[in-house]
Symmetry: C2
Subunit: 404 residues, 2 copies
């Protein structure tokens, strides 16, 4: 009997995968489908909080949640292992320590840093990719401060923090650094003027998803707190000393170098023979790749076309969680022989933090926020993703209730 | 008029120097003597707590006190500068940024790590010398943990912590590590079995100041918590990889190497032409070097002979603070033309911590303590040194009130 129950395998417990698994437990009974969730770690982490982990402004443990606290291991089989390859033809997933077959697959393996082939970037720059890589950055930064007063011939640039990319992650990260660096200076008896926080961006503006008024607000907020913004300056190479920047090939030196300039889908997709467009898989409006019946690709692994704007939706946690709702509904539809539905994105707005007490945002169709109210809204947004995953209990446990 | 007031210059604001300055303000009026206290930093730190800073089990700021909170800047002129040289003949002290003349000098410049010329030790091993060097160790250890899950070919030994010397500092340090390492393993998702804490000692026993019963207790306590004790094993060389140990020249590898095996007086003394015996200055029972009238050398800079035992008193905070009492009294005697008094050490006992909830100690003429009561007593001892320096206010501010 049990062999006739369809098996849904969800790869990845990020916003997209974990929400899918959670929604599936509501949509389908144990008699209707077996659900398997595969994830490298036994925890989910808040990707949108990693810039805070990387800056050291929150405890890494606040940014992660045990998966078994979100979905019941009685209903969802939890497999903690790394995905090596997806074998579409055999409907099988190869894991590091085992293999798993599926009837339906949800690929939600998230992103990897994309250095667009910039020379030396992979070797010399840190990336904000997961909990491990993010707290390595904050530990690396703190180690530079700890060394500073202990060494005879310490380079003056060792305290500098150089961040490539002025998108969401890069700007939110330097916003946190503007808050963290004075704390580190105080802790390690170092003059604030010894530390440069430098953001380098090839594009003509920071935060391209916001309009000029909000961008100007953000720039002023960051520059007033000592962040140097080098806009319209391409990085031609990363070295052990820093970035080589701009037409005049200036070497900007720093003891900590971080690249936030781009993401691409998990390398498992390319290695499994998926066709990639700008690093991700194009999916139809039902969130399946063209011509594929039994597989959904969501979150940072895929591009979903925004027909109105004639470009893909930007990858966000909000998008991933809304996709998960539709995937769960569509899996139910497939299993119960109903028609699948189309994904339509409902934009709840976008808020970027600039440290813990400042920010900018667009919310409620065009209403703009900046300053403390945006910072407050950012915490509401962060808590909302917790609420969507784990209800009020999880918000109380991991939510952000800092005074502002 | 003011030129006729004798000028007392105290070098160093450790236990010895800061207590001397504090006592002088009680013993002598502003009309009787000018008091100058010279120290590198604007803070005093609890040297006996540095093993906790180095292990990362206390906040470095708990282990330091602003000097101006202990002695009034209205009564004591505070000079924050490094001592370069003492010119005895000209009664002058050369500082990095100025010079200062004295009528009476108290040399309390503390200790430096003494590697007894072991090859490579100065280059490759950390030392627990001051706040800066101690928190560098805890940051270095944490950085090894942060890197572990992020690197492809990370060496298995990178998490190991290798400590040379099983005296007070070395053993108290590994005791703290036995407590800290499981916390770090939990934080960084690393199996405890991946981390070795290894203490290497050339002498036939750890903690030579305690008797066999207490030493056996300490060894069992540490070994039960996973500390490896390699006793009777001399270190012939320190390399970037670890220590070369014992007759068979075994290389023990570790990502963190700390040397706690010996101390000597501040190098300023040797560079100023003081005669050194085993790294320190011998002083008479009035705490002045033989034949010197205007200078006292105390704390970790000097040896005071214990006539009963026919060997010098071991250097401890307790000894330093008792010396300071006598120096202050003798300075008053010199200024008021009274005879100086002899220093007699009154042993209040010795307590060593083995982490925050275990320890061993001798207190009240031969009464032995071990376990939680020794750990509790250790906190009493730590708080007592705060009390002697800054009264109840300082105990409340910086005291140790951990539950145990």
């Amino acid at each position: 009997m049990s062999t006739s129950i369809p098996k849904i395998v969800v790869l990845g417990a990020g916003y997209a995968g974990l929400t899918t698994a959670k929604r599936l437990t509501k949509q389908l009974t144990a008699e209707q489908a077996e659900i398997v969730l595969v994830n490298k770690h036994n925890y989910h982490y808040e990707t949108t909080w990693l810039h805070e982990v990387a800056a050291g402004t929150i405890n890494p443990n606040q940014a992660r949640v045990m998966i078994s606290d979100v979905v019941s291991p009685n209903r969802v089989r939890l497999v903690y292992d790394s995905v090596v390859k997806i074998n579409k033809d055999e409907k099988r997933v190869v894991l590091e320590n085992s293999e798993i077959e599926y009837d339906y697959l949800v690929v939600a393996l998230g992103f990897e840093s994309n250095d667009f082939g910039i020379k030396g970037m992979a070797e010399h720059a840190f990336a904000i990719e997961d909990i491990d890589s993010s707290r390595l950055i904050s530990e690396h930064i703190e180690y530079q401060f700890a060394k500073y007063n202990n060494e005879e011939n310490v380079s003056e640039e060792s305290l500098n923090i150089l961040v490539g990319g002025a998108g969401f992650t890069g700007i939110e990260f330097v916003g946190e650094l503007a808050q963290k660096v004075p704390e580190l200076c105080k802790k390690y008896d170092i003059d604030r003027s010894k530390v440069r926080i430098i953001n380098v961006e090839a594009a003509p503006s920071i935060l391209p998803m916001f309009d000029k008024e909000l961008v100007d607000y953000a720039k002023k907020s960051l520059e007033d707190r000592g962040v140097e913004l080098k806009i319209g300056a391409a990085i031609s190479e990363a070295t052990s000393e820093g970035f080589i920047v701009g037409d005049d090939k200036e070497l900007i030196k720093a003891g900590t170098i971080v690249w936030t300039g781009g993401v691409k889908a998990s390398s498992v997709l390319g290695e499994s023979g998926f066709e990639l467009v700008k690093g991700k898989v194009n999916v139809n409006s039902d969130l399946r790749p063209e011509g594929v019946e039994d597989m959904f690709v969501i979150g940072d692994c895929s591009w979903v076309w925004n027909k109105e704007a004639d470009r893909p939706y930007p990858s966000t946690a909000q998008l991933a969680m809304q996709e998960a709702d539709v995937v769960a509904a569509n899996l139910k539809a497939l299993i119960t022989n109903q028609p699948v539905e189309e994904f339509v994105f409902s934009d709840k707005g976008t808020v970027a933090s600039l440290g813990h007490s400042d920010g900018i945002g667009n919310v409620m169709s065009g209403y703009k926020l900046s300053g403390k109210s945006a910072a407050a809204m950012k915490k509401v947004v962060d808590n909302r993703s917790l609420f969507l995953l784990g209800g009020a209990k999880l918000v109380l446990k991991k939510g952000k209730f800092r005074p502002f």
